[in-house]
């Protein structure tokens, strides 16, 4: 409570997190801050730990060491022995509820229509009635341009449409932070455009976003801050104009050189 005023602007504060799979240390001390309304892009070569980092933020993976603060409250912090200890169940649930996630593979529920996909979590988790949630869900579908598909099953949609539904589904829980793990990597180039457009619109509405991406144009144009990761550490970070225009580290230059080619 003491630091509420200080931390209020921070949606996420991550300090020195470590994560290993068996004896493979994938995250070797990552720290980062995300302010309210900020868009953070994370770039880096395959296997550098970007997805793992994102998945640690919303506890799809548990960290071994370090701390994660969500809106000024600890989701996890080191206990006296220096190991990560998570907040009690109820508090953790509340903090995790502030985050929505969009996956590379969409992960829509195939047995539900588009509208049902959006309404499922609000109805089950927040115990809202269908009547309460349906107008908002339809509004979200209009926003991502898929209102006319509301009664279709996901298998009837293109990849780009499915991903926009997935974004709308996450938004239906009214998250404060949206996490994206390579949301366009599974899509044909012509379909990435519509998904990126939806994400740009979200950013323009000042949604706080953490985006793992290979879309350098998106990272440069939309984000406020870019992190370049390699081998489980942050190699370089900064404003997109600096990181893309004038990278300081050799590894960053090499990576960006390969991406442009």
């Amino acid at each position: 409570m003491e630091n509420t005023t200080n931390n209020a602007a921070y949606m996420l504060r991550v300090r020195d997190i470590h994560k290993s799979f068996q004896d493979n240390e994938v995250l070797k001390g990552i720290s980062l801050d995300v302010c309210r309304g900020e868009v953070l892009s994370i770039i880096g070569p395959s296997g550098s730990g970007k997805s793992t980092l994102l998945r640690c933020l919303n506890r799809l993976e548990t960290i071994d060491k370090g701390s994660i603060e969500v809106k000024g409250e600890f989701l996890v912090e080191n206990d006296d022995s220096g190991c990560a200890a998570y907040a009690p169940t109820e508090k953790a649930r509340a903090l995790l509820g502030c985050m929505g996630m969009v996956f590379q593979q969409f992960n829509l529920f195939p047995h539900m229509t588009v509208l049902e996909n959006l309404m499922e979590a609000p109805m089950q988790v927040k115990k809202q009635t269908r009547e309460e949630i349906q107008p908002a869900a339809e509004e979200l579908l209009r926003k991502v341009g898929l209102y006319e598909k509301r009664d279709a099953y996901p298998s009837r949609l293109s990849g780009g449409q499915q991903q926009r539904v997935a974004i709308a589904r996450a938004l239906a829980m009214r998250p404060d932070i949206m996490l994206f793990d390579e949301p366009t990597s599974a899509l044909d180039p012509e379909l990435t455009v519509e998904v990126l457009k939806t994400m740009r619109e979200l950013a323009a509405e000042h949604m706080t976003m953490v985006v793992v991406t290979h879309e350098m144009t998106f990272a440069r144009d939309v984000s406020n801050h870019v992190i370049f990761m390699a081998d489980g550490v942050i190699v370089e970070q900064g404003r997109p104009s600096d990181l893309f225009g004038n990278p300081k580290e050799e590894r960053t230059r090499m990576f960006l050189g390969n991406m442009v080619k």
């Binding site: 919303n58 799809l60 649930r93 995790l96 509820g97 985050m99 929505g100 996630m101 996956f103 593979q105 992960n107 829509l108 529920f109 195939p110 047995h111 539900m112 499922e120 979590a121 089950q124 988790v125 099953y153 996901p154 298998s155 997935a166 589904r169 996450a170 829980m173």
Partner: protein
């Protein structure tokens, strides 16, 4: 003509035993099989191994032998059941093992991403199972369940050896008594009608659960 009616009526009475075995076996072995599948996947090793052994014994030995065991061997060590209870016990244990394997495969075939999506949306584990995993599992397992169910109709004829006057035994008695094959044809027709009805029911269920493709 009178004789034909009498034959049909006798066989109809026999089919009552058959139907009883069929319906009760199904009603008990489906939930039991599902429970076994959950234990098998529980991640608790001793339980998982125990379930593996159970499934192995039930699927790896003849149902006929299992029936004989419950009916004749258990009474020797003082465990006694009524005829119908013995038959139901053997059938249920056997079919639950088959259903368990079908359910296990069905649950395991649901991609991890479904659990992860549900989790990031805030659904609890039981909500995830009930709302996300089970409906998809039913969709995927209906065809093999349908197969096993039709097998069960035919397997009920095994109670023949327990002298319980089921459909088949009644038919055979009539054939032997009258030296007339008609009863076999009528019995065959009964089985065919039952499997046809079941096929139709499963078709409708598959249509209901299969409104979506994957």
């Amino acid at each position: 003509m009178d004789k034909l009616t009498e034959t049909v009526l006798s066989i109809l009475a026999g089919s009552k035993v058959t139907l009883e075995i069929f319906i009760f076996t199904l009603a008990m072995s489906l939930p039991l099989g599902f429970f076994v599948a959950l234990l098998r996947l529980s991640g608790i090793r001793p339980l998982a191994i125990l379930m593996d052994v159970y499934i192995w014994i039930m699927r790896g030995s003849p149902l006929m032998l299992q029936l004989l065991f419950v009916y004749f061997a258990l009474p020797m060590i003082g465990v006694r059941f009524s005829d119908i209870a013995a038959a139901l016990l053997a059938f249920t244990l056997n079919y639950a093992a088959y259903f368990a394997e079908i359910f296990r495969a069905g649950i395991q075939s649901i991609p991890r991403g479904q659990y992860e999506a549900a989790k990031t949306l805030g659904l609890t584990y039981s909500q995830t199972m009930r709302r996300i995993i089970l409906p998809q599992m039913i969709h995927r397992t209906l065809p093999p369940i349908s197969n096993e169910t039709i097998n069960l109709v035919k397997d009920t004829s095994l109670i023949y050896i327990l002298a319980m006057n089921d459909l088949l035994r009644v038919a055979r008695t009539i054939v032997q008594r009258d030296f007339d094959m008609t009863a076999f044809f009528i019995a065959g027709a009964f089985y065919l009608v039952m499997t046809a009805v079941l096929t139709a029911i499963f078709k409708r269920m598959e249509a209901h659960y299969g409104k979506y493709d994957e």
